[in-house]
């Protein structure tokens, strides 16, 4: 009898504690860095269930020479924070027009990727590659485009300002990463990062990603302008996202080989 009462009390106490902690989370600031980063990951890469966007990138190298990339993206989430399918169809530069990528992103194993080369009519499967190398010749890394899994880093809340959380993320394993840690400034309302700075082993910031513009599309705060700077070479890439649409009802069966050869125009425009 006695134990039962104690158990009961414990349960009530736990319930009160839980409810207060959730209340404080809603009313005030989050305290758990991992929770913040998970929400950021969802806000940035998993908005709605599916989406479409037109992305333009301008790459400027250290000598000021610029290049363009332009592509349309279709995305469908299989599970928030988990597997996703992507179809990317290139429009610029001229020599890669109609080149397309199909990516099946997996949370727990290597992604499956296919590349379509229109001249040869060849669907080429691509071996898993280093995620922290240039995405199609831009200053973005593959990982910046598809997201870095929050579990790969240890997160520490450094500071909570009036509008932002400042989180320091340190990789659990230094294998395959070129940074010692990075700091994220995360907007408290939108949970979108406003600035990410990558710090090398010498403690120097050598790479920076900045949010230049956030738009609300169908109620989803969406980063529409980004700048990534390679502070060592002085080169940078600007990215501009337009024609954003969410919850179009994109079916899963368009993420197939046939869509590389003949992109599904119904969803792309």
């Amino acid at each position: 009898m006695k134990t039962l009462t104690r158990t009961w009390w414990a349960a009530v106490a736990a319930a009160i504690f839980l409810s207060t902690s959730t209340m404080s989370a809603e009313a005030g600031d989050l305290k758990d860095a991992s929770q913040i980063v998970n929400r950021t990951n969802n806000a940035q890469y998993y908005a709605a269930n599916d989406g479409r966007a037109l992305v333009r990138m301008k790459i400027v190298d250290s000598k000021g020479r610029s290049q363009r990339r332009q592509f349309a993206v279709l995305r469908r989430d299989l599970k928030d924070g988990g597997d996703q399918n992507y179809l990317v169809v290139f429009d610029q530069p001229a020599d890669v027009r109609n080149t397309a990528f199909l990516v099946k992103k997996h949370a727990t194993k290597d992604d499956d990727r296919w590349l379509y080369l229109p001249g040869l009519d060849l669907v080429k499967r691509i071996a898993a590659s280093d995620e922290r190398t240039s995405f199609v010749g831009t200053h973005f890394f593959y990982e910046d485009i598809s997201g870095r899994h929050p579990d790969e880093d240890k997160h520490e809340l450094l500071e909570t300002t009036e509008t932002e959380y400042v989180v320091k993320s340190t990789p659990k394993s230094s294998k395959g990463v070129e940074f010692a840690h990075y700091t994220l400034r995360i907007n408290k309302k939108t949970f979108l990062p406003s600035k990410i700075e990558y710090v090398n082993a010498q403690g120097k910031v050598y790479r920076r990603i900045e949010t230049a513009k956030v738009d609300t599309v169908q109620g989803q705060p969406t980063i529409t302008r980004l700048k990534v700077s390679d502070l060592e070479s002085g080169g940078y890439t600007l990215s501009d996202v337009s024609n954003v649409s969410y919850d179009l009802g994109i079916p899963d069966d368009i993420f197939i080989e046939g869509s590389l050869r003949n992109p599904p125009q119904k969803w792309l425009r």
Partner: protein, 542 residues
């Protein structure tokens, strides 16, 4: 016969030849390319310690004729950068403006645009009424594009069979037209090129086709088109669509390895299983090596023949142009998790004229010409990620059903072909691929005992190993690539080194070589040894 490399000494020794001049030009271009790329690397490295010197830097890669295009493309970019370079990066870090922007969501950024992020707007203006994806725009989307390209490829070995010292010397114009609608689209890809080797203008339509989508389960493309399937890298087992081997060995872009055909392609999708059925009503063979441009070994005369030979070019006898002489290709494919599986079928002809047309089936002197024998192919393939890379295996049975017994010397024997491949990224941006390929000729004893020239017949087992190495450098603008074919039983090899450099956006320069060696004159690559060449290609895309 030992191949002799053309050296500058020979050039000076008064052998005035376009070949030597072209080799010198290519070597010069290669050096310029290397110095340009290196200079850029150094500069990138230097920029870490020094202030950015965007304006005054002497536009890096100094490839003579390109400088015009470069300087016209330059000014805008530099202007914007000058304004950019010092400003925003520093300012952004000190004021933290973007954070505020991100703060409240909707009408935010206008007030800020002029200083920090002005470049985005400059860029919008530059674009003007640019095409691209128009949100919910008109029903049809039109696009025009293409490129202009020059290619020169001199032989670097002495050839007794070929009089022409160049295997390619051409200027090409490509036009791409697309008209796209939700369910219908039309496509055109056409080349016109002035060819100084064969002294003529060619019109080559690579694609003129219409695509129709009938819901998610059915689609169709009909008209002239380039078709490809299978898992091999430069090795085709179940892909019996036409190829252009001349283009492959003279330094044209990879895409020209595939030749077009006039076909109807239908695709059915049921759940995640696809079925492709392709019908080519009029048989379209490979664009094979006929002696005109590239020399090859002709067993009829027992030696390598080229454009000097009176029997060049070889003109085979075609099957009659009747519907029942068309070819049918099928593929059933699907995935099980990350594993891709496919089964293939083909009914038609051998793609190369490897059969003899005889008036008397037993008399080699009664040869009327070369022709194409009937062929059916059945095969399967598997491709899957493995140990951080990709593994593929493919097999095909070539059923030469007009001579299953293998006793007719005029008709090729049946074969089993198999392939195993593995590919992975060894270091960032460095890919390696390895393949082992086998051709097993059935009824080989019957073949050698009935053949008119048993000494030239291929071995019962022909083995081939390939290696691919690919490295991307300088923000993916410089690509170093090497592809090697080597046959341990025929003792011949084909080496394809290549450097591609995207100088400034629309301009790419490619320098490479096609090196063929072999112990014997009659093996697959050995017969091509007198065509060993280096090449340079310059392409301007629009």
């Amino acid at each position: 016969m030992k191949p002799t490399i053309c050296t500058t000494k020979q050039c000076r020794a008064g052998v005035p030849s376009p070949r030597c001049a072209a080799v010198a030009a290519i070597v010069f271009a290669a050096l310029a390319l290397a110095s340009g790329a290196l200079a850029q690397d150094q500069q990138d490295a230097a920029a870490i310690s020094t202030e950015e010197g965007a304006g005054e830097s002497d536009a890096g890669p100094s490839i003579g004729s390109d400088s015009d295009a470069e300087s016209t493309a330059e000014p805008q970019a530099e202007d914007t950068l000058e304004a950019e370079a010092e400003g925003p990066v520093d300012e952004a870090s000190s004021t933290g403006s973007p954070e505020e922007l991100a703060g409240d969501v909707e009408p935010i950024e206008e007030n800020r645009a002029e200083d920090d992020w002005g470049e985005f707007d400059d860029w919008e203006e530059e674009d003007g009424g640019n095409s691209g994806g128009k949100p919910g725009g008109s029903a049809w989307d039109f696009h025009i594009g293409g490129f202009v390209e020059g290619l020169i490829a001199p032989r670097v070995v002495r050839s007794s069979a070929s009089a022409n010292e160049l295997v390619a010397n051409e200027a090409r114009f490509r036009l791409n037209l697309d008209a796209t609608h939700q369910i219908v689209s039309a496509r055109f890809r056409g080349d016109v090129f002035a060819d100084a080797v064969e002294r003529r203008i060619w019109f080559d339509i690579r694609d003129a086709s219409i695509f129709v989508r009938g819901g998610s389960w059915f689609s169709m493309r009909f008209g002239r088109q380039v078709l490809t399937w299978g898992t091999g890298d430069f090795l085709f087992l179940n892909d019996l669509f036409p190829k252009d081997f001349n283009s492959f060995f003279i330094g044209r872009a990879d895409e020209y390895l595939k030749a077009p055909s006039n076909s109807v392609q239908t695709t059915f999708m049921i759940k995640k299983v696809g079925l492709d059925l392709i019908w080519t009503p009029i048989f379209e063979p490979d664009r094979f090596i006929n002696g005109q441009r590239l020399s090859f070994f002709n067993p009829l005369v027992g030696e390598i023949i080229g454009d000097r030979s009176p029997i060049t070019p070889i003109e085979p006898l075609f099957p009659e142009q009747r519907l029942r002489n068309g070819t049918v290709h099928g593929r059933l494919y699907g995935t099980a998790g990350a594993v891709e599986l496919a089964a293939y079928g083909y009914v038609g002809y051998w793609m190369q004229p490897n059969a003899l047309a005889l008036t008397d089936p037993a008399d080699p002197n009664s040869i009327v010409g070369l022709t194409y024998a009937r062929l059916a192919v059945y095969g399967a393939s598997l491709r899957t990620p493995l140990f951080g890379g990709l593994f593929n295996v493919e097999a095909a049975f070539y059923d030469s059903f007009k001579d299953r017994a293998g006793t007719t010397p005029a008709t090729p024997n049946s074969q089993f072909r198999g392939l195993v491949g593995y590919e992975r990224e060894l270091f960032p941006k460095f890919q390696m691929g390895l393949q082992y390929y086998l051709e097993y000729t059935l009824k080989h004893d019957e073949l050698t005992s009935s053949s008119f020239w048993p000494q030239y017949e291929q071995h019962e087992f022909r083995h081939l190993i390939t290696l691919r190495l690919n490295q991307l450098l300088v923000m993916d603008k410089l690509e170093l690539s090497l592809f090697v074919f080597f046959s341990p039983d025929e003792l011949d090899t084909y080496i394809r080194p290549r450097i591609t450099y995207k100088v400034v956006e629309p301009l790419a320069i490619v320098i490479g070589a096609n090196l063929m060696f072999g112990r014997d004159d009659y093996t697959f690559f050995g017969q091509l040894q007198e065509n060993t060449n280096v090449y340079a290609r310059l392409r301007y895309s629009f």
